[in-house]
Symmetry: C2
Subunit: 437 residues, 2 copies
């Protein structure tokens, strides 16, 4: 059966999370978790849903970019696309005119992610499988055919990528069974946003411990004394054996990152996340080298804008934890490239999640990584933030601090139509009320 894409629609959906300081950090002090939300229609009634995550103002720019890309997809059939997915990926990312305003970065790449996430969702639905299962069952050669290797062959060739996937065929079924039973380990960022009071921190931490959480992330970077107090408080509450991670959200220059993080070493963080500019590969390498003797790794990736940047972070030993993002890279296609490179360089992948929909999406990618690529759970965990899941038709399920393996067909990013309509910016009910004030 052929599924021809007859229509692509995109909406600007925003949740007023800044009202309660949810998601606040050193650089994003008032985020309204938002999405450019894409629906593609086919001639036989099946739909695909996709999104890219944003934090409020500027979402309309991404929506504009999705409109610009839609001409490249409407009229095509899903079967045409997946027959040469690498070619289609390049059609979107290397349009002779639009590539100028990227290429493969920023607004236009976020839009590419939203559109391709919808295509992958549609594909998984046509197969009646959750996305992770579609990937796990796929022939390794077909996986490879979805990846654009342009600009990364000096780090990973097609043949090397294929070899990695072939080798991981061994034990795949056992790992799939394990995931279906236990789920994928998670950590929580919900306890310690920068805008929260100490009292809030304590309460949330107590609750999280009671629910079985063992890995906690704390936002830092605005004020060193505050950071010490907060890290000390959390470390006391979680005890010496549980895991603490800290996240500066790009607040520092290179030298400052080293001295500030060193001052927090006594709280034994596993990693410092985003210590400086996300573009600064060499800076991260310098920081990694300086912090290694303290046992602190560097984690980054949520604003690492494409596979070429990840390639260099790996080549330069500039990170010790790869934080892929389901909506900043060019969808599943580009994330596959990063997962395979990370495996080659033997660096663990710990996905970025949270926001709106990121947990729903990225769980599929990390399941595929464990079952079909890395076969390894050492120092690996997926971020979890307890926000806004109620707006999704197949929300993530967390049990005992693990992501339960999703079973519904698709990529888990369909939102309830009522949620979308209520939160459309600026015409939805939620915003009409807020903007009237």
């Amino acid at each position: 059966m052929i599924h021809t894409i007859t229509k692509l629609s995109v909406r600007d959906v925003r949740f007023p999370t800044s009202l309660d300081q949810h998601g606040s950090d050193a650089m994003h002090t008032d985020p309204d978790y938002s999405a450019a939300y894409v629906v593609i229609d086919t001639d036989n009634g099946l739909k695909g849903y996709g999104l890219t995550f944003t934090v409020g103002r500027g979402t309309e720019i991404v929506v504009c970019a999705v409109h610009a890309l839609s001409g490249l997809i409407v009229g095509k059939s899903l079967e045409d696309i997946i027959r040469d997915f690498r070619g289609f990926y390049r059609t979107l990312t290397s349009d002779g005119q639009m590539r100028w305003i990227g290429p493969e970065k920023g607004v236009i790449h976020l839009a590419t992610a939203a559109v391709l996430n919808a295509v992958w969702d549609l594909w998984a639905r046509t197969e009646g499988k959750p996305l992770w299962k579609l990937l796990v069952d796929m022939d390794p050669k077909q996986i490879i055919s979805c990846i654009d290797f342009r600009y990364i062959t000096d780090a990973l060739t097609e043949q090397e990528a294929l070899d990695i996937l072939m080798k991981a065929q061994e034990g795949k079924q056992q790992r799939e069974g394990q995931m279906l039973e236990e789920g994928y380990p998670a950590y929580t960022t919900s306890c310690a946003w920068l805008g929260y009071s100490d009292q809030q921190l304590k309460k949330l931490c107590t609750d999280a411990l009671a629910s079985g959480w063992t890995r906690f992330k704390v936002k830092v970077g605005a004020d060193l004394q505050d950071d010490k107090r907060r890290c000390s408080l959390i470390r006391q509450m979680i005890g010496p054996t549980n895991t603490l991670m800290i996240d500066a959200n790009q607040r520092w220059d290179v030298g400052e990152a080293i001295t500030w993080t060193s001052s927090l070493a006594e709280y034994k963080p596993l990693w410092i996340e985003e210590p400086t500019c996300p573009d600064d590969i060499l800076g991260h390498a310098t920081i990694s080298k300086a912090l290694a003797p303290l046992g602190i790794g560097v984690a980054t990736g949520e604003q690492c804008h494409n596979r070429v940047m990840f390639k260099q972070f790996l080549q330069a030993s500039a990170l010790q934890f790869v934080q892929i993002d389901s909506c900043r890279l060019g969808s599943v296609n580009e994330n596959l490239a990063v997962l395979l490179m990370a495996h080659k360089f033997q660096v663990p992948v710990c996905p970025h999640a949270g926001g709106v929909g990121l947990c729903e999406l990225v769980q599929h990618l990390i399941l595929f990584d464990y079952i079909s690529v890395s076969a390894n759970l050492d120092n690996r965990m997926c971020e979890y933030v307890d926000h806004l899941h109620e707006h999704f038709t197949s929300p993530v399920v967390i049990r005992n601090a693990h992501y339960m393996t999703p079973k519904d067909p698709g990529y888990s990013c369909e939102m309830f139509e009522s949620s979308v309509q209520a939160h459309q910016y600026p015409e939805g009910e939620t915003w009409k009320k807020l903007l009237k004030k």
Copy 2:
């Protein structure tokens, strides 16, 4: 006198250059040179004009981004802005919500460039000076106060930057006099676009030699045999002492860039431009190292998206020629940072120009570089392309292959209102006719 900004307007202006293959290269096969064109109005009638360059489709996305930024500028006075220009720069680039869709890259940064270019134009007009002269006459401390040093202090501190400017005070007047008399050396890209026939090449090259040109750039990268034929033809025509440069516009992976360029070494190119992905710092470093024994340098920058990327290119010895762009970086502010870093690392700056308006704008920056920073013309020249200058009220003047120093107040990016209206997309007369076909 206070100049309060009362209005910011932006228009999508496109020239159908793809009809004649002007500007065609290995990756941009059908560019329609375009601009997001900004006009800011003040309460006392003075206006500022700015633009960012694009190549057709997608310009509407940049226009959308300019609208999003306009709320951060309308209502402010020019005097408020320049009193803390560094702070204002950061207001635009680090908005707590909009930075997510960059930060400082792609669409949102192109929009920042357009807006700030208009602010600088306005500033120069209030002083009755061309922009280069405004900069040259400015107190070094004020220059420094326009630059955001965030993320670059590991390569260049404020004090080092100030020292560079102070040191270059010596001989400044003499250099200014020299520029007013001779102008700044240029090279031409107009002879050898990829879409041109050999016959066109020959004719254009003959004409250029007759007009005094001594430096020529050829587009390569689509087909090696074609490249050999074209380079051989041009080298024959210009003789052994004139300068040849080649430009691949990002066509290759790292390994291929080295072998392909090595195959063209016999034509003695001064540089290979954009051999691979503009994000690939380490790749460019590998290529630079491999080509150094052949006497071929690496040039890049027109798609280098911010000062943090330039910093790393310099730190890694990944380029031998810095090609700043007036419209991709965050206007004059960020270009000042790059000029100062390039000077510290002793790498010559050879600006990217062409498109629409890029020659008009960047001539000001390279004049400032010579007079107030580098005091050096060795291996330095500014790109020139003979296109679309007729649409500007103060077009560049080329004489004997030199940019004549501009004298009109401002940043030379005001377009004739009739040109703007005729080429507005899609409602201008030019497009109405073309789209009807």
